[in-house]
Protein backbone atom coordinates (compact mmCIF):
# COMPACT_ATOMS: atom_id res chain seq x y z
CA UNK A 1 0.00 0.00 0.00
CA UNK A 2 2.94 2.30 -0.03
CA UNK A 3 2.51 3.27 -3.65
CA UNK A 4 3.88 6.61 -4.48
CA UNK A 5 1.28 9.41 -4.46
CA UNK A 6 2.32 11.96 -7.02
CA UNK A 7 0.67 14.85 -5.19
CA UNK A 8 3.47 14.84 -2.60
CA UNK A 9 6.25 14.63 -5.15
CA UNK A 10 8.16 17.89 -4.93
CA UNK A 11 9.86 17.37 -8.30
CA UNK A 12 6.57 17.42 -10.17
CA UNK A 13 5.58 20.66 -8.52
CA UNK A 14 8.99 22.22 -9.10
CA UNK A 15 9.01 21.23 -12.76
CA UNK A 16 5.56 22.69 -13.33
CA UNK A 17 6.35 25.86 -11.42
CA UNK A 18 9.57 26.42 -13.35
CA UNK A 19 7.84 26.04 -16.68
CA UNK A 20 5.01 28.33 -15.62
CA UNK A 21 7.48 30.97 -14.47
CA UNK A 22 9.29 30.80 -17.81
CA UNK A 23 5.94 31.21 -19.54
CA UNK A 24 5.18 34.17 -17.32
CA UNK A 25 8.36 35.88 -18.43
CA UNK A 26 7.68 35.04 -22.06
CA UNK A 27 4.09 36.23 -21.78
CA UNK A 28 5.08 39.58 -20.30
CA UNK A 29 7.73 40.21 -22.94
CA UNK A 30 5.46 39.12 -25.79
CA UNK A 31 2.54 41.20 -24.50
CA UNK A 32 4.74 44.30 -24.34
CA UNK A 33 6.13 43.51 -27.77
CA UNK A 34 2.61 43.09 -29.14
CA UNK A 35 1.53 46.46 -27.77
CA UNK A 36 4.51 48.09 -29.46
CA UNK A 37 3.98 46.16 -32.69
CA UNK A 38 0.28 46.95 -32.78
CA UNK A 39 1.02 50.66 -32.52
CA UNK A 40 3.71 50.43 -35.19
CA UNK A 41 1.60 48.36 -37.59
CA UNK A 42 -1.47 50.54 -37.11
CA UNK A 43 0.70 53.58 -37.70
CA UNK A 44 1.85 52.14 -41.02
CA UNK A 45 -1.77 51.53 -42.01
CA UNK A 46 -2.58 55.12 -41.09
CA UNK A 47 0.52 56.44 -42.87
CA UNK A 48 1.94 57.69 -39.59
CA UNK A 49 5.25 56.89 -37.97
CA UNK A 50 4.13 55.52 -34.63
CA UNK A 51 6.18 55.49 -31.45
CA UNK A 52 9.78 56.49 -32.15
CA UNK A 53 11.00 58.72 -29.34
CA UNK A 54 11.43 56.24 -26.49
CA UNK A 55 14.61 54.32 -27.11
CA UNK A 56 15.84 53.16 -30.54
CA UNK A 57 12.85 53.04 -32.95
CA UNK A 58 10.57 53.56 -29.98
CA UNK A 59 11.26 50.04 -28.74
CA UNK A 60 11.14 51.08 -25.10
CA UNK A 61 7.65 52.57 -25.43
CA UNK A 62 5.96 49.61 -23.76
CA UNK A 63 8.48 49.59 -20.93
CA UNK A 64 7.80 53.25 -20.32
CA UNK A 65 4.04 52.60 -20.39
CA UNK A 66 4.37 49.73 -17.93
CA UNK A 67 6.44 51.83 -15.52
CA UNK A 68 3.92 54.64 -15.75
CA UNK A 69 1.03 52.26 -15.05
CA UNK A 70 2.74 50.76 -12.00
CA UNK A 71 3.34 54.24 -10.63
CA UNK A 72 -0.25 55.41 -11.10
CA UNK A 73 -2.70 55.81 -8.28
CA UNK A 74 -5.01 52.82 -7.90
CA UNK A 75 -8.50 54.03 -7.07
CA UNK A 76 -11.63 52.27 -5.93
CA UNK A 77 -14.88 54.22 -6.11
CA UNK A 78 -16.63 54.58 -2.75
CA UNK A 79 -19.85 53.09 -4.12
CA UNK A 80 -18.16 50.11 -5.75
CA UNK A 81 -18.84 46.68 -4.37
CA UNK A 82 -15.48 45.91 -2.73
CA UNK A 83 -15.40 42.15 -3.26
CA UNK A 84 -16.53 42.11 -6.86
CA UNK A 85 -14.40 45.07 -7.76
CA UNK A 86 -11.24 43.65 -6.21
CA UNK A 87 -11.80 40.13 -7.50
CA UNK A 88 -12.46 41.06 -11.13
CA UNK A 89 -8.78 41.43 -12.19
CA UNK A 90 -8.04 37.96 -10.81
CA UNK A 91 -11.08 36.49 -12.53
CA UNK A 92 -10.04 37.98 -15.85
CA UNK A 93 -6.35 37.19 -15.67
CA UNK A 94 -6.18 33.72 -14.12
CA UNK A 95 -8.39 31.92 -16.72
CA UNK A 96 -6.29 33.34 -19.54
CA UNK A 97 -3.16 32.20 -17.75
CA UNK A 98 -4.67 28.74 -17.27
CA UNK A 99 -4.82 28.36 -21.03
CA UNK A 100 -1.00 28.32 -21.23
CA UNK A 101 -0.96 24.89 -19.58
CA UNK A 102 -1.84 23.03 -22.78
CA UNK A 103 -0.34 25.26 -25.45
CA UNK A 104 2.37 23.35 -27.39
CA UNK A 105 5.16 25.87 -27.85
CA UNK A 106 7.75 23.61 -29.45
CA UNK A 107 8.11 19.82 -29.57
CA UNK A 108 8.39 18.35 -26.05
CA UNK A 109 8.14 21.73 -24.43
CA UNK A 110 4.87 22.60 -22.79
CA UNK A 111 3.59 22.54 -19.26
CA UNK A 112 1.38 19.50 -19.63
CA UNK A 113 -0.01 17.35 -22.44
CA UNK A 114 -3.71 16.86 -21.77
CA UNK A 115 -5.69 14.35 -23.81
CA UNK A 116 -8.64 16.72 -23.97
CA UNK A 117 -6.47 19.77 -24.51
CA UNK A 118 -8.91 21.67 -26.71
CA UNK A 119 -11.83 21.07 -24.38
CA UNK A 120 -9.71 22.21 -21.45
CA UNK A 121 -8.60 25.32 -23.31
CA UNK A 122 -12.08 26.49 -24.27
CA UNK A 123 -13.44 25.64 -20.83
CA UNK A 124 -10.72 27.49 -18.94
CA UNK A 125 -10.43 30.53 -21.15
CA UNK A 126 -14.16 31.19 -21.32
CA UNK A 127 -14.24 31.72 -17.55
CA UNK A 128 -12.90 35.19 -18.30
CA UNK A 129 -16.49 36.30 -18.96
CA UNK A 130 -17.18 36.05 -15.23
CA UNK A 131 -14.41 38.55 -14.59
CA UNK A 132 -15.77 40.97 -17.19
CA UNK A 133 -19.26 40.87 -15.75
CA UNK A 134 -17.86 41.19 -12.23
CA UNK A 135 -15.86 44.24 -13.27
CA UNK A 136 -18.93 45.82 -14.85
CA UNK A 137 -21.22 45.00 -11.98
CA UNK A 138 -18.82 45.89 -9.20
CA UNK A 139 -17.89 49.33 -10.47
CA UNK A 140 -21.32 50.82 -9.78
CA UNK A 141 -21.21 52.72 -13.02
CA UNK A 142 -23.99 52.41 -15.54
CA UNK A 143 -21.74 52.41 -18.57
CA UNK A 144 -19.51 49.81 -16.97
CA UNK A 145 -22.51 47.61 -16.29
CA UNK A 146 -23.83 47.88 -19.83
CA UNK A 147 -20.34 47.08 -21.09
CA UNK A 148 -20.12 44.05 -18.82
CA UNK A 149 -23.45 42.71 -20.02
CA UNK A 150 -22.58 43.32 -23.64
CA UNK A 151 -19.30 41.50 -23.23
CA UNK A 152 -21.14 38.58 -21.65
CA UNK A 153 -23.67 38.41 -24.47
CA UNK A 154 -20.95 38.66 -27.10
CA UNK A 155 -18.58 36.18 -25.49
CA UNK A 156 -21.22 33.48 -25.01
CA UNK A 157 -22.51 33.92 -28.56
CA UNK A 158 -19.10 33.61 -30.20
CA UNK A 159 -18.06 30.84 -27.85
CA UNK A 160 -20.15 28.38 -29.87
CA UNK A 161 -18.60 28.97 -33.32
CA UNK A 162 -15.16 28.92 -31.68
CA UNK A 163 -15.77 25.59 -29.98
CA UNK A 164 -17.47 24.02 -32.98
CA UNK A 165 -14.78 25.08 -35.44
CA UNK A 166 -12.05 23.69 -33.18
CA UNK A 167 -14.13 20.55 -32.80
CA UNK A 168 -14.53 20.07 -36.54
CA UNK A 169 -10.75 20.16 -36.87
CA UNK A 170 -10.60 17.68 -34.00
CA UNK A 171 -12.90 15.33 -35.91
CA UNK A 172 -10.66 15.42 -38.97
CA UNK A 173 -7.49 15.06 -36.92
CA UNK A 174 -9.08 12.32 -34.81
CA UNK A 175 -7.77 13.78 -31.56
CA UNK A 176 -8.32 16.65 -29.16
CA UNK A 177 -4.80 16.42 -27.81
CA UNK A 178 -3.00 19.51 -29.09
CA UNK A 179 0.37 17.80 -29.25
CA UNK A 180 -0.89 14.86 -31.30
CA UNK A 181 -2.81 17.27 -33.47
CA UNK A 182 0.36 19.18 -34.32
CA UNK A 183 2.29 15.98 -35.00
CA UNK A 184 -0.52 14.80 -37.27
CA UNK A 185 0.11 17.81 -39.49
CA UNK A 186 3.63 16.88 -40.47
CA UNK A 187 2.47 16.34 -44.05
CA UNK A 188 -0.49 18.66 -44.62
CA UNK A 189 -1.64 21.41 -42.25
CA UNK A 190 -5.26 21.22 -41.16
CA UNK A 191 -6.18 24.49 -42.82
CA UNK A 192 -6.08 22.65 -46.16
CA UNK A 193 -8.88 20.33 -45.02
CA UNK A 194 -10.78 22.89 -43.01
CA UNK A 195 -10.52 26.31 -44.64
CA UNK A 196 -13.99 27.39 -43.54
CA UNK A 197 -13.38 26.29 -39.97
CA UNK A 198 -10.30 28.52 -39.95
CA UNK A 199 -12.38 31.48 -41.11
CA UNK A 200 -15.04 30.85 -38.49
CA UNK A 201 -12.36 30.36 -35.85
CA UNK A 202 -10.68 33.61 -36.84
CA UNK A 203 -13.91 35.61 -36.64
CA UNK A 204 -14.93 34.03 -33.35
CA UNK A 205 -11.45 34.55 -31.90
CA UNK A 206 -11.62 38.23 -32.80
CA UNK A 207 -14.90 38.44 -30.92
CA UNK A 208 -13.60 36.47 -27.94
CA UNK A 209 -10.61 38.78 -27.70
CA UNK A 210 -12.83 41.86 -28.01
CA UNK A 211 -10.84 43.12 -30.96
CA UNK A 212 -12.21 45.45 -33.60
CA UNK A 213 -14.76 45.04 -35.28
CA UNK A 214 -16.17 43.20 -32.26
CA UNK A 215 -15.04 45.65 -29.59
CA UNK A 216 -18.59 46.56 -28.62
CA UNK A 217 -18.02 45.90 -24.89
CA UNK A 218 -15.15 48.35 -24.74
CA UNK A 219 -16.28 50.82 -27.42
CA UNK A 220 -15.05 54.23 -26.34
CA UNK A 221 -17.72 56.14 -28.21
CA UNK A 222 -20.61 54.04 -26.89
CA UNK A 223 -19.88 52.79 -23.39
CA UNK A 224 -16.79 54.94 -22.69
CA UNK A 225 -14.41 52.04 -22.20
CA UNK A 226 -16.82 49.38 -21.01
CA UNK A 227 -16.39 47.43 -17.78
CA UNK A 228 -13.03 48.96 -16.98
CA UNK A 229 -13.95 52.65 -16.78
CA UNK A 230 -13.55 52.80 -13.04
CA UNK A 231 -10.29 50.88 -12.96
CA UNK A 232 -7.02 52.75 -12.98
CA UNK A 233 -3.33 52.11 -12.58
CA UNK A 234 -2.17 48.57 -12.04
CA UNK A 235 -5.60 46.92 -11.99
CA UNK A 236 -6.46 48.37 -15.36
CA UNK A 237 -3.12 47.20 -16.73
CA UNK A 238 -3.93 43.68 -15.48
CA UNK A 239 -6.95 43.70 -17.81
CA UNK A 240 -4.78 45.06 -20.57
CA UNK A 241 -2.10 42.42 -20.00
CA UNK A 242 -4.82 39.79 -19.99
CA UNK A 243 -6.09 41.01 -23.35
CA UNK A 244 -2.69 40.82 -25.02
CA UNK A 245 -1.82 37.53 -23.32
CA UNK A 246 -5.11 36.23 -24.70
CA UNK A 247 -4.11 37.35 -28.17
CA UNK A 248 -0.72 35.66 -27.80
CA UNK A 249 -2.28 32.40 -26.65
CA UNK A 250 -4.97 32.47 -29.34
CA UNK A 251 -2.39 33.06 -32.06
CA UNK A 252 -0.26 30.12 -30.92
CA UNK A 253 -3.38 27.97 -30.71
CA UNK A 254 -4.41 28.96 -34.22
CA UNK A 255 -0.91 28.15 -35.41
CA UNK A 256 -0.98 24.77 -33.69
CA UNK A 257 -4.47 23.70 -34.70
CA UNK A 258 -4.72 25.03 -38.23
CA UNK A 259 -1.25 25.83 -39.51
CA UNK A 260 0.69 22.91 -38.13
CA UNK A 261 2.49 24.48 -35.15
CA UNK A 262 6.11 23.44 -35.02
CA UNK A 263 5.86 20.98 -37.92
CA UNK A 264 7.33 21.81 -41.29
CA UNK A 265 5.13 20.32 -44.04
CA UNK A 266 7.93 19.62 -46.53
CA UNK A 267 9.55 16.87 -44.54
CA UNK A 268 12.56 16.56 -42.34
CA UNK A 269 13.09 16.79 -38.61
CA UNK A 270 13.69 20.31 -37.44
CA UNK A 271 15.92 21.47 -34.63
CA UNK A 272 14.49 23.39 -31.73
CA UNK A 273 15.65 26.74 -33.10
CA UNK A 274 13.78 26.26 -36.36
CA UNK A 275 10.70 25.12 -34.47
CA UNK A 276 10.71 28.37 -32.52
CA UNK A 277 11.02 30.28 -35.79
CA UNK A 278 8.14 28.32 -37.34
CA UNK A 279 5.82 28.83 -34.39
CA UNK A 280 6.77 32.50 -34.32
CA UNK A 281 6.06 32.98 -38.01
CA UNK A 282 2.77 31.07 -37.92
CA UNK A 283 1.44 32.97 -34.95
CA UNK A 284 2.68 36.26 -36.39
CA UNK A 285 0.53 35.66 -39.47
CA UNK A 286 -2.51 35.36 -37.24
CA UNK A 287 -1.58 38.42 -35.21
CA UNK A 288 -0.94 40.48 -38.32
CA UNK A 289 -4.38 39.52 -39.62
CA UNK A 290 -5.88 40.72 -36.33
CA UNK A 291 -4.09 44.07 -36.65
CA UNK A 292 -5.06 44.36 -40.30
CA UNK A 293 -8.74 43.79 -39.54
CA UNK A 294 -8.54 46.38 -36.79
CA UNK A 295 -7.08 48.93 -39.19
CA UNK A 296 -9.70 48.42 -41.89
CA UNK A 297 -13.06 47.61 -40.28
CA UNK A 298 -15.51 49.85 -38.46
CA UNK A 299 -17.20 48.62 -35.32
CA UNK A 300 -20.35 46.50 -35.68
CA UNK A 301 -23.71 47.36 -34.14
CA UNK A 302 -24.88 44.99 -31.43
CA UNK A 303 -27.79 43.58 -33.44
CA UNK A 304 -25.45 42.86 -36.36
CA UNK A 305 -23.02 41.25 -33.95
CA UNK A 306 -25.51 38.89 -32.32
CA UNK A 307 -27.25 38.12 -35.61
CA UNK A 308 -23.99 37.24 -37.30
CA UNK A 309 -23.07 34.76 -34.58
CA UNK A 310 -26.43 33.02 -34.31
CA UNK A 311 -27.73 33.15 -37.85
CA UNK A 312 -24.54 32.65 -39.85
CA UNK A 313 -21.65 31.24 -37.83
CA UNK A 314 -23.42 28.71 -35.61
CA UNK A 315 -25.40 27.00 -38.45
CA UNK A 316 -22.35 26.99 -40.71
CA UNK A 317 -20.11 25.43 -38.10
CA UNK A 318 -22.75 22.79 -37.31
CA UNK A 319 -22.94 21.95 -41.02
CA UNK A 320 -19.17 21.68 -41.07
CA UNK A 321 -19.19 19.24 -38.16
CA UNK A 322 -21.80 17.02 -39.83
CA UNK A 323 -20.03 17.18 -43.17
CA UNK A 324 -16.74 16.10 -41.61
CA UNK A 325 -18.54 13.22 -39.95
CA UNK A 326 -20.15 12.09 -43.22
CA UNK A 327 -16.91 12.17 -45.18
CA UNK A 328 -15.02 10.28 -42.50
CA UNK A 329 -17.70 7.67 -41.83
CA UNK A 330 -18.23 6.81 -45.47
CA UNK A 331 -14.54 7.07 -46.28
CA UNK A 332 -14.82 9.71 -48.98
CA UNK A 333 -11.69 11.44 -50.21
CA UNK A 334 -10.65 14.30 -47.94
CA UNK A 335 -10.43 16.64 -50.91
CA UNK A 336 -14.24 16.95 -50.67
CA UNK A 337 -13.71 18.78 -47.39
CA UNK A 338 -11.34 21.24 -49.02
CA UNK A 339 -13.73 21.98 -51.86
CA UNK A 340 -16.79 22.35 -49.65
CA UNK A 341 -14.77 24.44 -47.20
CA UNK A 342 -13.76 26.83 -49.95
CA UNK A 343 -17.36 26.97 -51.13
CA UNK A 344 -18.35 27.75 -47.55
CA UNK A 345 -15.88 30.64 -47.47
CA UNK A 346 -17.41 32.03 -50.66
CA UNK A 347 -20.87 31.68 -49.09
CA UNK A 348 -19.64 33.42 -45.91
CA UNK A 349 -18.27 36.32 -47.95
CA UNK A 350 -21.44 36.51 -50.03
CA UNK A 351 -23.78 36.57 -47.06
CA UNK A 352 -21.63 39.11 -45.22
CA UNK A 353 -21.49 41.31 -48.27
CA UNK A 354 -25.24 41.00 -48.75
CA UNK A 355 -25.86 41.96 -45.14
CA UNK A 356 -23.56 44.97 -45.47
CA UNK A 357 -24.79 46.25 -48.83
CA UNK A 358 -28.53 45.63 -48.28
CA UNK A 359 -29.19 46.34 -44.61
CA UNK A 360 -32.67 45.38 -43.52
CA UNK A 361 -34.78 48.39 -42.65
CA UNK A 362 -35.62 48.03 -39.01
CA UNK A 363 -39.28 48.77 -38.24
CA UNK A 364 -39.71 51.77 -35.99
CA UNK A 365 -40.46 51.01 -32.38
CA UNK A 366 -44.30 51.08 -32.10
CA UNK A 367 -44.17 52.46 -28.55
CA UNK A 368 -42.18 55.44 -29.79
CA UNK A 369 -44.68 56.08 -32.61
CA UNK A 370 -47.72 56.15 -30.36
CA UNK A 371 -45.84 58.44 -28.02
CA UNK A 372 -45.08 60.79 -30.89
CA UNK A 373 -48.72 60.66 -32.08
CA UNK A 374 -50.26 61.43 -28.73
Amino acid sequence: MNTHFIFWDINVWADGALRLLMITGLMTVVAMGLIYLERKVLARFHQRVGPQRTGPLGLLQSVADALKLVGKEDLRPTNADPWTFELAPYLVFIPIFLGFVVIPFVADWQVRVLDLGILYFVAASSLTIVGWVAAGWGSDNRYAMIGGLRSAAQAISYELPLVLSLLSVGIVAGTLNLNEMVQGQSAVPNIVWQPMAFFIFFIAALAELNRTPFDIPVGESEVVGGPFVEYSGIRWSMFFLGEYAGMFIMSILAGAVFLGGYEWPFGGELGRGWQVVLVGVKSSIFIFLVFWVRASMPRLRIDQLMGYAWKVLVPLSLVQVLLNGAVLVYGGPKIILTVTGLAGIVFLFWITDRAVSKPRVRPANPAMQTEAAS
Partner: protein, 124 residues
Amino acid sequence: MEQANALFSNYLAVILATIVGFFLVVSALVGSRLLAPFSKEREKGTTYECGMLPIRRASTNVGVRFYLYAILFVIFDVEAVFIFPWALSFLAIGPQAYWLMVAFIAILGLGLGYAWKKGALQWH
Protein backbone atom coordinates in the same frame (compact mmCIF):
# COMPACT_ATOMS: atom_id res chain seq x y z
CA MET B 1 -4.02 5.21 -6.15
CA GLU B 2 -3.22 4.64 -9.81
CA GLN B 3 -6.22 6.67 -10.89
CA ALA B 4 -5.45 9.42 -8.41
CA ASN B 5 -1.91 9.58 -9.76
CA ALA B 6 -3.12 9.77 -13.34
CA LEU B 7 -5.55 12.54 -12.44
CA PHE B 8 -3.06 14.55 -10.47
CA SER B 9 -0.22 14.14 -12.91
CA ASN B 10 -2.51 15.73 -15.50
CA TYR B 11 -4.21 18.40 -13.48
CA LEU B 12 -1.55 19.29 -10.96
CA ALA B 13 -0.24 21.74 -13.53
CA VAL B 14 -3.69 23.33 -13.65
CA ILE B 15 -3.76 23.84 -9.89
CA LEU B 16 -0.26 25.21 -10.11
CA ALA B 17 -1.19 27.59 -12.92
CA THR B 18 -4.06 28.92 -10.81
CA ILE B 19 -1.69 29.59 -7.95
CA VAL B 20 0.97 31.19 -10.14
CA GLY B 21 -1.61 33.35 -11.90
CA PHE B 22 -3.03 34.45 -8.57
CA PHE B 23 0.39 35.44 -7.25
CA LEU B 24 1.18 37.27 -10.48
CA VAL B 25 -1.76 39.59 -9.94
CA VAL B 26 -1.00 39.88 -6.22
CA SER B 27 2.64 40.80 -6.85
CA ALA B 28 1.61 43.42 -9.40
CA LEU B 29 -0.85 44.93 -6.93
CA VAL B 30 1.78 44.90 -4.15
CA GLY B 31 4.31 46.52 -6.46
CA SER B 32 1.87 49.27 -7.26
CA ARG B 33 1.06 49.65 -3.54
CA LEU B 34 4.76 50.30 -2.92
CA LEU B 35 5.38 52.63 -5.87
CA ALA B 36 2.16 54.49 -6.54
CA PRO B 37 0.91 57.51 -4.60
CA PHE B 38 -2.30 57.18 -2.60
CA SER B 39 -4.54 59.94 -1.37
CA LYS B 40 -7.48 59.79 0.97
CA GLU B 41 -9.40 62.61 -0.68
CA ARG B 42 -13.14 61.90 -0.67
CA GLU B 43 -13.95 63.30 -4.10
CA LYS B 44 -11.61 60.75 -5.68
CA GLY B 45 -14.02 58.01 -4.75
CA THR B 46 -16.90 59.35 -6.82
CA THR B 47 -17.90 57.91 -10.17
CA TYR B 48 -15.47 58.97 -12.90
CA GLU B 49 -13.48 60.65 -10.16
CA CYS B 50 -15.22 63.88 -11.15
CA GLY B 51 -17.23 64.83 -8.08
CA MET B 52 -20.62 64.75 -9.80
CA LEU B 53 -22.82 62.26 -7.97
CA PRO B 54 -24.84 59.86 -10.17
CA ILE B 55 -28.52 59.40 -9.41
CA ARG B 56 -29.27 55.99 -7.87
CA ARG B 57 -27.16 52.87 -7.99
CA ALA B 58 -26.09 51.46 -11.35
CA SER B 59 -27.63 48.04 -10.74
CA THR B 60 -30.92 48.68 -12.49
CA ASN B 61 -33.12 46.32 -14.50
CA VAL B 62 -31.58 44.52 -17.42
CA GLY B 63 -33.19 43.92 -20.81
CA VAL B 64 -34.80 40.52 -21.21
CA ARG B 65 -32.98 39.83 -24.50
CA PHE B 66 -29.76 39.12 -22.61
CA TYR B 67 -31.69 36.38 -20.85
CA LEU B 68 -32.93 34.88 -24.12
CA TYR B 69 -29.40 34.68 -25.49
CA ALA B 70 -28.23 33.14 -22.24
CA ILE B 71 -30.85 30.36 -22.53
CA LEU B 72 -29.90 29.70 -26.14
CA PHE B 73 -26.26 29.60 -25.15
CA VAL B 74 -26.87 27.04 -22.42
CA ILE B 75 -28.72 24.77 -24.86
CA PHE B 76 -26.09 24.95 -27.54
CA ASP B 77 -23.14 24.74 -25.21
CA VAL B 78 -24.50 21.56 -23.70
CA GLU B 79 -24.89 20.31 -27.25
CA ALA B 80 -21.23 21.12 -27.95
CA VAL B 81 -20.26 19.19 -24.81
CA PHE B 82 -22.18 16.20 -26.18
CA ILE B 83 -20.39 16.47 -29.50
CA PHE B 84 -16.93 16.33 -27.88
CA PRO B 85 -16.99 12.64 -26.81
CA TRP B 86 -18.86 11.76 -30.02
CA ALA B 87 -16.18 13.37 -32.15
CA LEU B 88 -13.52 11.06 -30.77
CA SER B 89 -15.48 7.81 -30.89
CA PHE B 90 -17.99 7.82 -33.74
CA LEU B 91 -15.56 6.34 -36.26
CA ALA B 92 -15.09 3.28 -34.07
CA ILE B 93 -18.84 2.77 -33.65
CA GLY B 94 -19.82 3.20 -37.28
CA PRO B 95 -22.48 4.92 -39.37
CA GLN B 96 -25.32 4.56 -36.87
CA ALA B 97 -23.46 6.77 -34.38
CA TYR B 98 -23.13 9.34 -37.12
CA TRP B 99 -26.83 9.29 -37.98
CA LEU B 100 -27.76 9.58 -34.30
CA MET B 101 -25.72 12.75 -34.11
CA VAL B 102 -27.37 14.01 -37.31
CA ALA B 103 -30.76 13.49 -35.66
CA PHE B 104 -29.58 15.22 -32.49
CA ILE B 105 -28.24 18.23 -34.33
CA ALA B 106 -31.34 18.33 -36.54
CA ILE B 107 -33.58 18.58 -33.48
CA LEU B 108 -31.43 21.41 -32.14
CA GLY B 109 -31.43 22.99 -35.58
CA LEU B 110 -35.22 22.93 -35.51
CA GLY B 111 -35.06 24.65 -32.14
CA LEU B 112 -32.74 27.29 -33.52
CA GLY B 113 -35.08 27.77 -36.49
CA TYR B 114 -38.01 28.17 -34.13
CA ALA B 115 -36.14 30.77 -32.09
CA TRP B 116 -35.21 32.54 -35.31
CA LYS B 117 -38.82 32.50 -36.54
CA LYS B 118 -40.05 33.81 -33.21
CA GLY B 119 -37.62 36.70 -33.47
CA ALA B 120 -35.55 35.69 -30.43
CA LEU B 121 -32.38 36.15 -32.47
CA GLN B 122 -33.35 39.65 -33.57
CA TRP B 123 -31.94 42.30 -31.30
CA HIS B 124 -34.44 45.12 -30.97
